[in-house]
Protein backbone atom coordinates (compact mmCIF):
# COMPACT_ATOMS: atom_id res chain seq x y z
CA UNK A 1 0.00 0.00 0.00
CA UNK A 2 1.74 3.12 -1.16
CA UNK A 3 -1.05 5.58 -0.63
CA UNK A 4 -0.18 7.82 2.25
CA UNK A 5 -3.28 9.97 2.29
CA UNK A 6 -6.67 9.55 0.72
CA UNK A 7 -9.16 12.39 0.88
CA UNK A 8 -12.72 11.49 0.02
CA UNK A 9 -15.37 14.13 -0.73
CA UNK A 10 -14.22 16.50 1.97
CA UNK A 11 -16.19 19.71 2.53
CA UNK A 12 -16.07 22.57 4.98
CA UNK A 13 -18.68 25.27 5.25
CA UNK A 14 -18.23 28.37 7.38
CA UNK A 15 -21.81 29.56 7.62
CA UNK A 16 -22.87 30.26 4.06
CA UNK A 17 -19.29 30.32 2.82
CA UNK A 18 -18.10 27.09 1.27
CA UNK A 19 -14.37 27.04 1.95
CA UNK A 20 -13.75 23.50 0.75
CA UNK A 21 -16.17 21.92 -1.67
CA UNK A 22 -16.19 18.15 -2.09
CA UNK A 23 -12.47 17.66 -2.49
CA UNK A 24 -11.05 14.24 -3.28
CA UNK A 25 -7.45 13.39 -4.01
CA UNK A 26 -4.76 11.03 -2.83
CA UNK A 27 -1.10 11.35 -2.02
CA UNK A 28 1.39 8.65 -2.96
CA UNK A 29 4.44 7.75 -0.96
CA UNK A 30 7.75 9.41 -1.77
CA UNK A 31 6.42 12.19 -3.97
CA UNK A 32 6.63 15.91 -3.35
CA UNK A 33 3.21 17.45 -3.78
CA UNK A 34 2.47 21.06 -4.35
CA UNK A 35 -0.91 22.18 -3.11
CA UNK A 36 -1.64 25.13 -5.37
CA UNK A 37 -4.31 27.73 -5.39
CA UNK A 38 -4.90 31.43 -5.07
CA UNK A 39 -5.47 32.97 -1.64
CA UNK A 40 -8.75 31.76 -0.19
CA UNK A 41 -8.94 28.65 -2.35
CA UNK A 42 -9.17 26.37 0.68
CA UNK A 43 -5.58 25.15 1.03
CA UNK A 44 -5.13 25.88 4.71
CA UNK A 45 -8.66 24.73 5.60
CA UNK A 46 -8.05 21.42 3.83
CA UNK A 47 -4.79 20.94 5.69
CA UNK A 48 -6.49 21.99 8.95
CA UNK A 49 -9.05 19.24 8.52
CA UNK A 50 -6.63 16.43 7.77
CA UNK A 51 -4.58 17.60 10.77
CA UNK A 52 -7.54 17.45 13.17
CA UNK A 53 -7.76 21.15 14.03
CA UNK A 54 -10.71 22.03 11.80
CA UNK A 55 -13.87 19.95 12.02
CA UNK A 56 -15.06 18.87 8.56
CA UNK A 57 -18.65 19.51 7.53
CA UNK A 58 -18.72 16.38 5.37
CA UNK A 59 -16.38 13.77 4.02
CA UNK A 60 -13.57 11.58 5.28
CA UNK A 61 -9.86 11.02 4.90
CA UNK A 62 -7.50 8.18 5.65
CA UNK A 63 -3.91 8.45 6.76
CA UNK A 64 -1.81 5.40 5.89
CA UNK A 65 -4.92 3.44 4.95
CA UNK A 66 -6.63 3.87 8.32
CA UNK A 67 -9.32 6.28 9.28
CA UNK A 68 -7.86 9.31 10.94
CA UNK A 69 -6.64 9.38 14.52
CA UNK A 70 -4.03 11.17 16.53
CA UNK A 71 -1.58 8.30 16.26
CA UNK A 72 -1.30 8.96 12.55
CA UNK A 73 -0.39 12.54 13.36
CA UNK A 74 2.58 11.29 15.34
CA UNK A 75 3.99 9.95 12.05
CA UNK A 76 3.50 13.31 10.38
CA UNK A 77 5.33 16.59 10.72
CA UNK A 78 3.32 19.70 9.97
CA UNK A 79 3.61 23.44 10.04
CA UNK A 80 0.51 25.51 9.40
CA UNK A 81 0.69 29.18 8.45
CA UNK A 82 3.31 30.42 10.85
CA UNK A 83 5.61 28.93 13.47
CA UNK A 84 3.74 28.50 16.76
CA UNK A 85 5.89 28.07 19.84
CA UNK A 86 6.02 29.21 23.45
CA UNK A 87 7.87 32.54 23.17
CA UNK A 88 9.35 32.33 26.67
CA UNK A 89 10.86 28.87 26.14
CA UNK A 90 14.24 28.26 24.54
CA UNK A 91 14.49 26.44 21.22
CA UNK A 92 15.54 23.32 23.11
CA UNK A 93 12.71 23.46 25.64
CA UNK A 94 10.19 24.06 22.86
CA UNK A 95 11.41 20.99 21.02
CA UNK A 96 11.29 19.01 24.27
CA UNK A 97 7.60 19.82 24.53
CA UNK A 98 7.03 18.66 20.95
CA UNK A 99 9.11 15.52 21.56
CA UNK A 100 7.04 14.65 24.63
CA UNK A 101 3.82 15.07 22.64
CA UNK A 102 5.12 12.97 19.77
CA UNK A 103 6.65 10.48 22.18
CA UNK A 104 10.12 10.54 20.69
CA UNK A 105 13.45 10.66 22.48
CA UNK A 106 15.07 13.99 23.42
CA UNK A 107 18.29 12.74 21.87
CA UNK A 108 17.06 13.75 18.42
CA UNK A 109 16.71 17.40 19.33
CA UNK A 110 20.33 18.39 18.71
CA UNK A 111 20.44 16.45 15.47
CA UNK A 112 17.38 18.24 14.07
CA UNK A 113 18.61 21.63 15.24
CA UNK A 114 21.79 20.89 13.34
CA UNK A 115 19.78 20.08 10.18
CA UNK A 116 18.19 23.52 10.22
CA UNK A 117 21.39 25.22 11.34
CA UNK A 118 20.14 26.40 14.74
CA UNK A 119 22.23 24.28 17.09
CA UNK A 120 24.30 27.24 18.20
CA UNK A 121 21.11 29.06 19.26
CA UNK A 122 19.45 26.19 21.09
CA UNK A 123 19.40 27.89 24.49
CA UNK A 124 18.01 31.18 23.20
CA UNK A 125 14.40 32.07 23.77
CA UNK A 126 12.06 31.64 20.83
CA UNK A 127 10.92 35.27 21.10
CA UNK A 128 14.46 36.41 20.32
CA UNK A 129 14.50 34.62 16.96
CA UNK A 130 14.13 36.23 13.55
CA UNK A 131 11.26 35.07 11.35
CA UNK A 132 13.61 32.91 9.26
CA UNK A 133 14.95 31.23 12.39
CA UNK A 134 11.44 30.69 13.73
CA UNK A 135 10.44 29.04 10.49
CA UNK A 136 13.54 26.83 10.62
CA UNK A 137 12.79 25.86 14.20
CA UNK A 138 9.30 24.90 13.07
CA UNK A 139 10.83 22.64 10.44
CA UNK A 140 13.11 21.10 13.08
CA UNK A 141 10.05 20.44 15.24
CA UNK A 142 8.21 18.87 12.32
CA UNK A 143 11.20 16.62 11.59
CA UNK A 144 11.59 15.50 15.20
CA UNK A 145 9.71 12.25 14.72
CA UNK A 146 11.44 11.46 11.40
CA UNK A 147 8.05 11.86 9.78
CA UNK A 148 6.79 9.79 6.88
CA UNK A 149 4.93 12.83 5.65
CA UNK A 150 5.92 16.45 6.00
CA UNK A 151 3.25 19.11 5.53
CA UNK A 152 4.36 22.67 4.98
CA UNK A 153 1.95 25.54 4.57
CA UNK A 154 3.52 28.61 2.96
CA UNK A 155 6.92 27.88 4.52
CA UNK A 156 8.65 30.84 2.91
CA UNK A 157 5.97 33.43 3.59
CA UNK A 158 7.49 36.70 4.70
CA UNK A 159 11.10 35.55 4.50
CA UNK A 160 13.95 37.42 2.86
CA UNK A 161 15.63 35.92 -0.24
CA UNK A 162 18.35 34.24 1.81
CA UNK A 163 15.76 32.76 4.14
CA UNK A 164 13.77 31.48 1.18
CA UNK A 165 16.81 29.83 -0.34
CA UNK A 166 17.73 28.23 2.97
CA UNK A 167 14.24 26.79 3.50
CA UNK A 168 14.15 25.54 -0.08
CA UNK A 169 17.49 23.80 0.41
CA UNK A 170 16.21 22.12 3.55
CA UNK A 171 13.03 20.98 1.77
CA UNK A 172 15.04 19.53 -1.08
CA UNK A 173 17.33 17.76 1.37
CA UNK A 174 14.34 16.19 3.10
CA UNK A 175 12.73 15.22 -0.21
CA UNK A 176 15.94 13.46 -1.21
CA UNK A 177 15.65 11.24 1.87
CA UNK A 178 12.40 9.87 0.45
CA UNK A 179 10.00 11.73 2.72
CA UNK A 180 6.61 12.48 1.23
CA UNK A 181 6.06 16.21 1.25
CA UNK A 182 2.90 18.24 0.83
CA UNK A 183 3.75 21.85 0.20
CA UNK A 184 0.98 24.40 0.11
CA UNK A 185 1.87 27.63 -1.56
CA UNK A 186 0.58 30.31 -3.81
CA UNK A 187 4.13 30.97 -4.98
CA UNK A 188 4.18 28.81 -8.08
CA UNK A 189 7.80 29.41 -8.71
CA UNK A 190 8.48 27.80 -5.36
CA UNK A 191 6.36 24.74 -6.07
CA UNK A 192 7.89 24.36 -9.51
CA UNK A 193 11.35 24.24 -8.02
CA UNK A 194 10.69 21.41 -5.59
CA UNK A 195 7.52 19.50 -6.52
CA UNK A 196 6.97 16.47 -8.70
CA UNK A 197 3.20 16.45 -8.33
CA UNK A 198 0.54 19.09 -7.89
CA UNK A 199 -2.95 19.38 -6.55
CA UNK A 200 -4.65 22.50 -7.83
CA UNK A 201 -7.45 24.05 -5.81
CA UNK A 202 -9.69 26.84 -6.95
CA UNK A 203 -12.61 28.22 -4.96
CA UNK A 204 -12.62 25.20 -2.70
CA UNK A 205 -12.65 22.66 -5.52
CA UNK A 206 -9.78 20.45 -6.63
CA UNK A 207 -9.34 20.88 -10.36
CA UNK A 208 -6.19 18.86 -10.95
CA UNK A 209 -4.19 16.21 -9.15
CA UNK A 210 -1.22 14.49 -10.71
CA UNK A 211 2.30 14.84 -12.04
CA UNK A 212 3.53 18.30 -12.90
CA UNK A 213 4.40 17.35 -16.48
CA UNK A 214 0.92 16.01 -17.19
CA UNK A 215 -0.77 19.16 -16.04
CA UNK A 216 -1.30 20.36 -19.56
CA UNK A 217 -1.10 18.48 -22.83
CA UNK A 218 0.69 21.20 -24.76
CA UNK A 219 3.93 20.37 -26.53
CA UNK A 220 5.91 23.44 -25.55
CA UNK A 221 7.78 25.97 -27.64
CA UNK A 222 11.22 26.78 -29.11
CA UNK A 223 13.28 29.84 -28.45
CA UNK A 224 15.60 30.53 -31.34
CA UNK A 225 18.22 33.13 -32.14
CA UNK A 226 20.30 33.76 -35.26
CA UNK A 227 21.99 36.53 -37.21
CA UNK A 228 19.34 36.66 -39.93
CA UNK A 229 16.08 36.78 -38.01
CA UNK A 230 13.85 37.69 -40.97
CA UNK A 231 14.93 34.64 -42.94
CA UNK A 232 14.43 32.41 -39.87
CA UNK A 233 10.88 33.66 -39.35
CA UNK A 234 10.16 33.12 -43.00
CA UNK A 235 11.33 29.50 -42.90
CA UNK A 236 9.46 28.76 -39.68
CA UNK A 237 6.25 30.17 -41.09
CA UNK A 238 6.49 27.79 -44.01
CA UNK A 239 6.83 24.77 -41.73
CA UNK A 240 3.66 22.90 -40.73
CA UNK A 241 4.45 22.08 -37.15
CA UNK A 242 4.14 25.53 -35.54
CA UNK A 243 0.94 27.23 -34.54
CA UNK A 244 2.31 30.57 -33.40
CA UNK A 245 5.52 32.44 -34.14
CA UNK A 246 6.39 35.53 -32.16
CA UNK A 247 9.45 37.72 -32.63
CA UNK A 248 10.90 39.52 -29.65
CA UNK A 249 14.01 41.61 -30.34
CA UNK A 250 16.58 39.08 -31.50
CA UNK A 251 14.78 35.99 -30.22
CA UNK A 252 11.99 34.14 -32.00
CA UNK A 253 9.61 32.01 -30.01
CA UNK A 254 7.69 29.34 -31.91
CA UNK A 255 4.88 27.37 -30.28
CA UNK A 256 4.55 23.76 -31.40
CA UNK A 257 1.45 22.26 -32.99
CA UNK A 258 3.04 18.91 -33.81
CA UNK A 259 5.92 17.52 -31.86
CA UNK A 260 9.42 18.18 -33.12
CA UNK A 261 12.86 17.44 -31.73
CA UNK A 262 15.32 20.25 -31.13
CA UNK A 263 17.94 18.23 -33.02
CA UNK A 264 15.59 17.72 -35.93
CA UNK A 265 14.78 21.42 -36.13
CA UNK A 266 18.44 22.34 -36.03
CA UNK A 267 19.17 19.97 -38.91
CA UNK A 268 16.38 21.47 -41.01
CA UNK A 269 17.56 25.00 -40.39
CA UNK A 270 21.21 24.23 -41.15
CA UNK A 271 20.14 22.69 -44.45
CA UNK A 272 18.42 25.98 -45.25
CA UNK A 273 21.55 27.94 -44.39
CA UNK A 274 20.51 29.20 -40.95
CA UNK A 275 23.00 28.81 -38.12
CA UNK A 276 21.50 29.26 -34.68
CA UNK A 277 23.22 31.02 -31.80
CA UNK A 278 20.36 30.18 -29.44
CA UNK A 279 18.17 27.09 -29.31
CA UNK A 280 15.99 26.07 -26.38
CA UNK A 281 12.93 23.87 -26.21
CA UNK A 282 10.71 24.53 -23.22
CA UNK A 283 7.29 24.04 -21.84
CA UNK A 284 5.16 26.75 -20.35
CA UNK A 285 6.11 27.31 -16.77
CA UNK A 286 3.85 26.25 -13.97
CA UNK A 287 2.48 29.72 -13.55
CA UNK A 288 1.09 29.84 -17.07
CA UNK A 289 -0.18 26.29 -16.90
CA UNK A 290 -1.85 27.07 -13.60
CA UNK A 291 -3.47 30.22 -14.93
CA UNK A 292 -4.70 28.32 -18.00
CA UNK A 293 -6.16 25.62 -15.79
CA UNK A 294 -7.99 28.11 -13.61
CA UNK A 295 -9.17 30.01 -16.67
CA UNK A 296 -10.48 26.82 -18.31
CA UNK A 297 -12.27 25.92 -15.11
CA UNK A 298 -13.88 29.34 -14.95
CA UNK A 299 -14.86 29.11 -18.64
CA UNK A 300 -16.48 25.73 -18.09
CA UNK A 301 -18.42 26.96 -15.10
CA UNK A 302 -19.59 30.04 -16.96
CA UNK A 303 -20.63 27.91 -19.94
CA UNK A 304 -22.50 25.53 -17.65
CA UNK A 305 -24.26 28.40 -15.95
CA UNK A 306 -25.28 29.79 -19.31
CA UNK A 307 -26.66 26.43 -20.42
CA UNK A 308 -28.68 26.14 -17.26
Amino acid sequence: MNTVLEIDKLSKHFGSLIAVDNISFSVEKGNVYGLLGPNGSGKTTTLGMILNVVNPTKGTWRWFGNTHNSDALKKIGAIIERPNFYPYLSAKKNLQTVATIKQVSFSRIDEKLETVDLLHRKNDRFSAFSLGMKQRLAIAAALLNNPEVLILDEPTNGLDPQGIIKIREIIRQIANMGTTIILASHLLDEVEKVCSHVVVLNKGKSIYCGAVENMSNELGYFELGTANIDKLVNILENMTCFEKIVRRHDIVSATLKNDLDAEELNKILVNQGIFLNHLVKRKNNLEQQFLNLIKNETDITTAKNRME
Binding site: L51, N52, S70, T100, I101
Partner: protein
Protein backbone atom coordinates in the same frame (compact mmCIF):
# COMPACT_ATOMS: atom_id res chain seq x y z
CA UNK B 1 -0.30 6.22 34.44
CA UNK B 2 2.44 6.59 31.87
CA UNK B 3 0.12 8.80 29.85
CA UNK B 4 -0.60 10.97 32.88
CA UNK B 5 3.11 11.42 33.53
CA UNK B 6 3.62 12.36 29.90
CA UNK B 7 0.92 15.02 30.11
CA UNK B 8 2.35 16.34 33.36
CA UNK B 9 5.79 16.53 31.80
CA UNK B 10 4.39 18.67 28.99
CA UNK B 11 2.61 20.98 31.43
CA UNK B 12 5.62 21.23 33.72
CA UNK B 13 7.71 22.43 30.80
CA UNK B 14 5.08 25.02 29.90
CA UNK B 15 4.39 26.36 33.39
CA UNK B 16 7.62 26.03 35.30
CA UNK B 17 9.63 27.83 32.64
CA UNK B 18 7.13 30.68 32.54
CA UNK B 19 8.75 33.09 34.95
CA UNK B 20 5.66 34.96 36.17
CA UNK B 21 3.73 31.76 36.78
CA UNK B 22 6.68 30.16 38.57
CA UNK B 23 7.14 33.12 40.91
CA UNK B 24 3.41 33.31 41.66
CA UNK B 25 3.19 29.59 42.38
CA UNK B 26 6.23 29.61 44.63
CA UNK B 27 4.99 32.63 46.58
CA UNK B 28 1.53 31.10 46.91
CA UNK B 29 2.71 27.77 48.24
CA UNK B 30 5.34 29.38 50.46
CA UNK B 31 2.69 31.62 52.02
CA UNK B 32 0.28 28.73 52.39
CA UNK B 33 2.93 26.55 54.01
CA UNK B 34 4.02 29.26 56.44
CA UNK B 35 0.43 30.28 57.17
CA UNK B 36 0.32 28.16 60.28
CA UNK B 37 3.12 30.27 61.70
CA UNK B 38 2.18 33.63 60.17
CA UNK B 39 -1.37 33.78 61.58
CA UNK B 40 0.04 33.53 65.09
CA UNK B 41 2.49 36.39 64.51
CA UNK B 42 0.22 38.82 62.70
CA UNK B 43 -1.96 40.58 65.22
CA UNK B 44 -4.15 43.18 63.61
CA UNK B 45 -4.67 46.19 65.86
CA UNK B 46 -8.23 47.35 66.48
CA UNK B 47 -8.64 50.60 68.41
CA UNK B 48 -4.98 50.49 69.41
CA UNK B 49 -5.52 47.10 70.95
CA UNK B 50 -3.71 44.30 69.31
CA UNK B 51 -6.18 41.61 68.38
CA UNK B 52 -4.65 38.28 69.18
CA UNK B 53 -6.91 35.71 67.59
CA UNK B 54 -5.29 32.97 69.60
CA UNK B 55 -6.72 34.47 72.77
CA UNK B 56 -10.19 34.17 71.27
CA UNK B 57 -9.57 30.52 70.66
CA UNK B 58 -9.33 30.73 66.89
CA UNK B 59 -6.76 27.96 66.78
CA UNK B 60 -8.41 25.52 69.11
CA UNK B 61 -9.80 22.21 67.96
CA UNK B 62 -12.31 21.93 66.43
CA UNK B 63 -12.70 25.60 65.39
CA UNK B 64 -9.26 25.73 63.79
CA UNK B 65 -10.43 23.47 60.95
CA UNK B 66 -13.13 25.89 59.89
CA UNK B 67 -11.22 29.12 60.56
CA UNK B 68 -8.04 28.25 58.71
CA UNK B 69 -9.70 26.61 55.70
CA UNK B 70 -12.01 29.61 55.35
CA UNK B 71 -9.05 31.95 55.46
CA UNK B 72 -6.83 29.85 53.16
CA UNK B 73 -9.52 29.76 50.49
CA UNK B 74 -8.86 33.41 49.60
CA UNK B 75 -5.46 32.39 48.22
CA UNK B 76 -7.02 30.23 45.53
CA UNK B 77 -7.61 33.31 43.36
CA UNK B 78 -3.81 33.35 42.77
CA UNK B 79 -3.90 29.87 41.33
CA UNK B 80 -7.09 30.71 39.45
CA UNK B 81 -5.19 33.43 37.61
CA UNK B 82 -2.42 30.98 36.76
CA UNK B 83 -4.87 28.35 35.55
CA UNK B 84 -6.62 30.91 33.35
CA UNK B 85 -3.44 32.33 31.81
CA UNK B 86 -2.01 28.86 31.32
CA UNK B 87 -4.98 28.09 29.06
CA UNK B 88 -5.47 31.46 27.36
CA UNK B 89 -1.75 31.62 26.52
CA UNK B 90 -2.24 28.51 24.41
CA UNK B 91 -4.71 30.49 22.31
CA UNK B 92 -2.61 33.66 22.15
CA UNK B 93 0.53 31.80 21.13
CA UNK B 94 -1.55 29.45 18.95
CA UNK B 95 0.36 26.62 20.54
CA UNK B 96 -2.78 24.65 21.25
CA UNK B 97 -3.28 24.29 17.52
CA UNK B 98 0.32 23.18 17.13
CA UNK B 99 0.00 20.73 20.06
CA UNK B 100 -2.98 19.12 18.35
CA UNK B 101 -1.18 19.00 15.00
CA UNK B 102 1.77 17.39 16.73
CA UNK B 103 -0.51 14.57 17.82
CA UNK B 104 -2.03 15.51 21.16
CA UNK B 105 -5.77 14.77 21.21
CA UNK B 106 -8.25 17.36 22.42
CA UNK B 107 -9.07 15.04 25.30
CA UNK B 108 -5.40 14.81 26.29
CA UNK B 109 -5.04 18.56 26.03
CA UNK B 110 -7.96 19.16 28.39
CA UNK B 111 -6.77 16.39 30.69
CA UNK B 112 -3.33 17.96 30.97
CA UNK B 113 -4.89 21.25 32.09
CA UNK B 114 -7.20 19.48 34.55
CA UNK B 115 -4.29 17.55 36.02
CA UNK B 116 -2.52 20.80 36.82
CA UNK B 117 -5.65 22.07 38.60
CA UNK B 118 -5.98 18.81 40.50
CA UNK B 119 -2.38 18.97 41.64
CA UNK B 120 -2.85 22.57 42.73
CA UNK B 121 -5.95 21.77 44.76
CA UNK B 122 -4.55 18.54 46.26
CA UNK B 123 -1.31 20.21 47.27
CA UNK B 124 -3.15 23.18 48.79
CA UNK B 125 -5.45 20.82 50.68
CA UNK B 126 -2.59 18.79 52.11
CA UNK B 127 -0.75 21.93 53.21
CA UNK B 128 -3.89 23.41 54.77
CA UNK B 129 -4.61 20.13 56.54
CA UNK B 130 -1.20 20.12 58.21
CA UNK B 131 -1.39 23.82 59.05
CA UNK B 132 -4.69 23.25 60.86
CA UNK B 133 -3.41 20.12 62.58
CA UNK B 134 -0.22 21.86 63.72
CA UNK B 135 -1.99 24.95 65.04
CA UNK B 136 -4.60 22.89 66.80
CA UNK B 137 -2.04 20.68 68.48
CA UNK B 138 0.01 23.66 69.65
CA UNK B 139 -2.89 25.68 71.05
CA UNK B 140 -5.31 23.09 72.35
CA UNK B 141 -4.49 22.08 75.92
CA UNK B 142 -6.07 18.67 76.11
CA UNK B 143 -7.00 17.73 72.60
CA UNK B 144 -9.69 15.12 73.00
CA UNK B 145 -11.30 14.94 69.61
CA UNK B 146 -8.74 16.24 67.16
CA UNK B 147 -10.57 15.36 63.98
CA UNK B 148 -13.95 16.79 64.85
CA UNK B 149 -14.62 19.37 62.14
CA UNK B 150 -11.98 17.97 59.78
CA UNK B 151 -14.71 17.72 57.13
CA UNK B 152 -14.07 21.40 56.45
CA UNK B 153 -10.82 20.35 54.82
CA UNK B 154 -12.88 18.25 52.41
CA UNK B 155 -15.10 21.31 51.93
CA UNK B 156 -12.02 23.37 51.16
CA UNK B 157 -10.82 20.83 48.60
CA UNK B 158 -14.19 20.75 46.86
CA UNK B 159 -14.62 24.51 46.90
CA UNK B 160 -11.19 25.07 45.38
CA UNK B 161 -11.82 22.36 42.78
CA UNK B 162 -15.13 23.90 41.72
CA UNK B 163 -13.39 27.25 41.41
CA UNK B 164 -10.52 25.84 39.33
CA UNK B 165 -12.79 23.95 36.97
CA UNK B 166 -14.92 27.07 36.58
CA UNK B 167 -11.77 29.04 35.70
CA UNK B 168 -10.85 26.32 33.20
CA UNK B 169 -14.23 26.53 31.49
CA UNK B 170 -14.15 30.33 31.27
CA UNK B 171 -10.59 30.32 29.96
CA UNK B 172 -11.51 27.88 27.18
CA UNK B 173 -14.67 29.80 26.44
CA UNK B 174 -13.37 33.38 26.43
CA UNK B 175 -9.76 32.74 25.38
CA UNK B 176 -8.60 36.08 26.83
CA UNK B 177 -7.18 36.06 30.33
CA UNK B 178 -8.32 39.56 31.31
CA UNK B 179 -11.93 39.07 30.30
CA UNK B 180 -12.09 35.55 31.70
CA UNK B 181 -10.84 36.77 35.06
CA UNK B 182 -13.26 39.66 35.03
CA UNK B 183 -16.14 37.28 34.36
CA UNK B 184 -15.02 35.02 37.22
CA UNK B 185 -15.27 37.96 39.60
CA UNK B 186 -18.52 39.34 38.14
CA UNK B 187 -20.10 35.89 38.25
CA UNK B 188 -19.28 35.50 41.93
CA UNK B 189 -20.64 38.97 42.72
CA UNK B 190 -23.77 38.18 40.71
CA UNK B 191 -24.42 35.03 42.72
CA UNK B 192 -23.97 36.87 46.00
CA UNK B 193 -26.41 39.56 44.90
CA UNK B 194 -29.00 37.02 43.76
CA UNK B 195 -28.71 35.21 47.06
CA UNK B 196 -29.06 38.51 48.93
CA UNK B 197 -32.25 39.36 47.04
CA UNK B 198 -33.66 35.91 47.72
CA UNK B 199 -32.83 36.15 51.42
CA UNK B 200 -34.63 39.48 51.69
CA UNK B 201 -37.70 38.37 49.78
CA UNK B 202 -38.16 34.89 51.18
CA UNK B 203 -38.35 33.78 54.78
CA UNK B 204 -37.64 30.11 54.14
CA UNK B 205 -34.30 28.84 55.36
CA UNK B 206 -33.63 27.15 52.03
CA UNK B 207 -32.60 29.43 49.20
CA UNK B 208 -32.69 28.19 45.65
CA UNK B 209 -29.79 30.41 44.60
CA UNK B 210 -27.64 28.56 47.10
CA UNK B 211 -27.51 25.87 44.43
CA UNK B 212 -25.56 28.15 42.08
CA UNK B 213 -21.96 26.98 41.77
CA UNK B 214 -20.32 29.78 43.75
CA UNK B 215 -22.92 29.85 46.51
CA UNK B 216 -23.07 26.07 46.76
CA UNK B 217 -19.34 25.79 47.26
CA UNK B 218 -19.37 28.76 49.66
CA UNK B 219 -21.93 26.87 51.73
CA UNK B 220 -19.34 24.12 52.12
CA UNK B 221 -16.97 26.59 53.75
CA UNK B 222 -19.09 29.06 55.71
CA UNK B 223 -17.83 32.15 57.49
CA UNK B 224 -16.66 31.12 60.97
CA UNK B 225 -19.54 31.38 63.41
CA UNK B 226 -19.00 33.89 66.20
CA UNK B 227 -21.04 33.83 69.37
CA UNK B 228 -20.19 36.57 71.82
CA UNK B 229 -22.38 35.06 74.54
CA UNK B 230 -20.04 32.08 74.68
CA UNK B 231 -17.10 34.37 75.20
CA UNK B 232 -18.84 36.23 78.01
CA UNK B 233 -19.40 32.92 79.72
CA UNK B 234 -15.68 32.27 79.46
CA UNK B 235 -15.80 30.01 76.44
CA UNK B 236 -14.48 30.69 72.95
CA UNK B 237 -15.89 33.24 70.54
CA UNK B 238 -16.13 30.72 67.78
CA UNK B 239 -18.76 28.17 67.11
CA UNK B 240 -18.55 25.35 64.66
CA UNK B 241 -20.89 25.69 61.67
CA UNK B 242 -22.71 22.68 60.31
CA UNK B 243 -21.03 20.86 57.50
CA UNK B 244 -23.48 20.54 54.61
CA UNK B 245 -22.65 17.19 53.09
CA UNK B 246 -25.48 17.52 50.57
CA UNK B 247 -23.67 20.46 49.00
CA UNK B 248 -20.69 18.17 48.35
CA UNK B 249 -22.85 16.47 45.76
CA UNK B 250 -23.73 19.84 44.22
CA UNK B 251 -20.01 20.68 44.07
CA UNK B 252 -19.13 17.40 42.39
CA UNK B 253 -21.97 17.82 39.89
CA UNK B 254 -20.67 21.30 39.02
CA UNK B 255 -17.11 20.06 38.55
CA UNK B 256 -18.40 17.41 36.13
CA UNK B 257 -20.56 19.96 34.28
CA UNK B 258 -17.67 22.41 33.88
CA UNK B 259 -15.36 19.70 32.59
CA UNK B 260 -17.92 18.35 30.14
CA UNK B 261 -18.72 21.84 28.86
CA UNK B 262 -15.02 22.62 28.43
CA UNK B 263 -14.60 19.45 26.41
CA UNK B 264 -17.63 20.21 24.25
CA UNK B 265 -16.29 23.71 23.56
CA UNK B 266 -12.90 22.34 22.66
CA UNK B 267 -14.36 19.66 20.41
CA UNK B 268 -16.77 21.86 18.52
CA UNK B 269 -14.53 24.82 17.83
CA UNK B 270 -12.25 25.10 14.83
CA UNK B 271 -8.79 26.37 15.59
Amino acid sequence: MKQILRLLKIEWNKIYNYKTARIFIIIYFALLASMGYLVTVIKPSVDNMSLDLARFGAYLFPYVWQNITYFADFGSIFLGVIIITNITNEYTYRTMKQNLIDGLTKKEFLLSKLLVSLIFSLLSTIIVFFACLGLGLVYTQNPSSIFKGVTFVLGYFLKVSVFFSFCTLLAFWIRRSGFALMLVILWRLGEVIILGIEQISSRSSFHLSNLLPGNASATLLPFPGIKLQNFMRGGTVFSLSDFHAEYCIAAIVYIVIFIVLSYQLLKKRDL
